[in-house]
């Protein structure tokens, strides 16, 4: 099984992200692999353990994005490639999808491309579907478990009404959710390997494509309105009394 995982580097989920002069800022908090993508790496590595083959982790961005790729290697991925090109500076998700698709084609004979459900910075959640569209592959989105059955792949999806089992023919794009299982920690062996690896960098020319058009812009970014929060501790002589006071307060505040 030849597997690719597409990852993005984002600010840490603990970062305090604010809008300053229309620009997003996360202060000096570290950049990490998008937390949702860690689940995609986990799904890919589990699949590889069952089916054999290679897991290649790829990303688009500047030199610093190699750190996120190294995390992928440290978790156990076999190869990593960075796609870096000045033309990708303000790329929208469609442009990203075209480039990822070109990279997946360059890797050749890819059976599955895994994605996280969305990136915690842009929160668009469309890259997996758009990449599948460019490749002309089926997309199995928001998978909570993944298994291979001769030549096709079967995923489970948790939907509000219950659970679906969906099967798709390879090659296929899959986006995964948390239920796939906790991402593994990097191993020491992986850490040693990641720090000895040289990660090849591909430009758009290396992929044999022109800079794709970017049609979506973010003209304005605003902070959420500030909320006034006050704390109050409800006390009473018995749990019943506390519950009654609490219920009254909730009703009088018209929360319910």
């Amino acid at each position: 099984m030849n597997i690719v995982v597409c990852i993005k580097q984002t600010p840490d989920s603990a970062a305090k992200v604010v809008a300053e002069n229309g620009q997003v800022s996360w202060g000096d908090s570290p950049l990490v692999m998008n937390p949702w993508d860690e689940y995609a790496v986990e799904a890919a590595l589990t699949m590889q353990e069952e089916q054999g083959g290679d897991v290649t982790v790829i990303s688009i961005g500047e030199e610093g994005v190699k750190d996120a790729l190294k995390t992928g290697l440290a978790m156990g991925c076999s190869n990593a490639f960075l796609i870096s090109d000045p033309a990708m500076q303000n790329a929208d998700s469609q442009a990203v999808a075209r480039v990822l698709a070109a990279a997946i084609q360059k890797i050749e004979n890819v059976d599955i491309a895994f994605f996280g459900r969305q990136a915690i910075d842009g929160d668009m959640g469309v890259t997996a579907a758009q990449t599948a569209r460019v490749l002309g592959w089926p997309i199995l989105s928001l998978a909570s478990s993944v298994g291979a059955v001769n030549g096709s792949i079967r995923v489970e999806r948790n939907v509000e009404e219950g659970r679906q089992v969906v099967e798709g023919k390879l090659p296929v794009a899959v986006s995964v959710v948390k239920d796939i299982g906790d991402p593994r920690y990097p191993s020491f062996m992986g850490i040693r390997k990641a720090n000895r690896a040289t990660i090849p960098v591909w430009t758009l020319a290396d992929l044999g494509i022109e800079a794709p058009d970017t049609n979506v812009r973010w003209p304005e970014i605003m902070n959420p309105p500030e909320h006034e929060i006050t704390n109050e501790i409800v006390s009473g002589d018995s749990p019943d009394e506390i519950a009654t006071i609490l219920a009254d307060k909730i009703l009088s505040e018209k929360v319910l």
Binding site: Y185, S187, F188, M189
Partner: protein, 406 residues
């Protein structure tokens, strides 16, 4: 001068932080109350490779450096001291003691399984009647037909009831003019006949860790289990302490950080007199002191780790780092409780556990009084470092990571 951590350091740090926060933080209060060590801790630490982190691959380790060891201790103790104690006794005191002093055959036999985490190791120096005064050790080892017969009791031994191996210091020469020179070190498998051991309960802190006693009654140990030469026991123990104390210093730094983080969080949320208590200058002063302690403690331990990487003697620097960080961690925990008010006084919050845990480190691996004597001794020229027959090897990344079929 370069203060930056390498990518390797950062990855190790993140991995251990994730592990401690995800797997230990949720269960630690329960085990602290039960005064038991969570059974999954040692196997999991072994599986992750932590128990051999800073040993070469050829000795079953993971090939990281001494700084990585410190970073791991900082992360572990930011969650609970009992986790860091494992690193102190297994890696710091025992494995690194073997790495420095054992011969190749002994490294094969003892160090490799320990570094892989297949065998857990502890360190038996203290006795019911001898703590700071190591030369007062009563345990004896007498030669008998190619073996030693060891008798005596060790007290306050971390992991006493969990370990497979102990580094045991006993008197081989009762007639040595200087009693320090009458001591020898042995690596003893704890399944030998004549050994009994148990845990001590009712401790103030590190309740989720194991601290116990080990008693040897006519325990026969082959000569090949003696580490170093006869009479080198004191030097070996002191070398081991140079590494154990380093892990304690790094761990206490993590404890200060935990106190700081939880104090900041609470101070930003708790209201008094119509404002957040974090806006009150007297509370700010406490936070500022924690920041000061954390940064200073961290610089001191990283400096000691850097000296170790270079293969330079670091007895003084390590002692200073340990003395400073442990005293400061107790103060930080005490002030963290103060910031939390009555809530800090209950085990609903972590800070009361931090205080209880911090207290022990001011006693073990050299009491704060002993570290003051050491520091004054260097400053007054009453003390110096004589070269050792065997020094702790300097870190060499290529050599330590070679022979990986990776």
């Amino acid at each position: 001068m370069d203060f930056s951590l390498t990518d390797e350091h950062r990855m190790v740090q993140e991995m251990v932080r994730d592990y401690a926060q995800r797997e230990i933080a949720p269960i630690i209060k329960e085990y602290d109350r039960k005064q038991e060590m969570a059974p999954e801790i040692l196997p999991r630490m072994a599986e992750l490779g932590l128990l051999g982190i800073c040993l070469p691959l050829r000795y079953g380790g993971q090939g990281m450096d001494y700084i990585a060891l410190g970073l791991v201790c900082e992360e572990l103790e930011a969650v609970d001291s009992s986790m860091r104690v494992v690193m102190s006794v297994h890696v710091g005191l025992n494995c690194l003691g073997l790495f420095q002093w054992a011969d190749e055959e002994q490294k094969e036999a003892f160090l490799i399984p320990q570094a892989r985490g297949e065998k857990i190791a502890c360190f038996g120096l203290s006795e019911p009647g001898a703590g700071s005064d190591v030369a007062a050790i009563q345990s004896t080892a007498r030669r008998d037909k190619g073996n030693y017969v060891i008798n005596g009791e060790k007290m306050w031994i971390s992991l006493a009831s969990k370990a497979h191996h102990v580094m045991w210091v006993a008197r081989t020469n009762p007639d040595a003019p200087d009693p320090h020179d009458g001591l020898s070190a042995f690596l003893v498998e704890l399944d030998r006949p004549g050994i009994t051991r148990g845990d001590i309960h009712g401790k103030l802190g590190v309740r989720a860790g194991s601290t116990g006693w080990i008693s040897f009654q006519d325990v026969r140990v082959p000569e090949k289990n003696r580490i170093g030469k006869e009479g080198e026991g004191f030097k070996i123990a002191m070398s081991a302490l140079d590494n154990g104390r380093y892990t304690v210093a790094a761990g206490a730094t993590g404890l200060i950080r935990a106190c700081l983080d939880e104090s900041v969080q609470y101070a930003n949320q708790r209201q008094a007199f119509g404002r957040q208590i974090g806006k009150i200058q007297l509370i700010q002063a406490k936070i500022a002191h924690m920041v000061q302690s954390y940064d200073a403690a961290r610089l001191l331990y990283l400096h000691a780790g850097w000296l170790k990487n270079l293969g330079k003697r670091n007895t003084r620097q390590t002692s200073l780092a340990k003395w400073f960080a442990t005293d400061a961690s107790f103060e930080a925990a005490s002030q963290a409780i103060q910031i939390h008010g009555a809530y800090g006084y209950s085990d609903e919050y972590n800070v009361e556990r931090y205080l209880r845990n911090a207290r022990g480190a001011i006693i073990y691996e050299g009491t704060s009084e002993i570290h003051q004597l050491i520091q004054a001794g260097y400053a007054l020229g009453l003390r110096g470092d004589a070269p050792l027959r065997k020094e702790l090897p300097a870190y060499d990344r290529d050599k330590w990571q070679e022979n990986c079929s990776e």
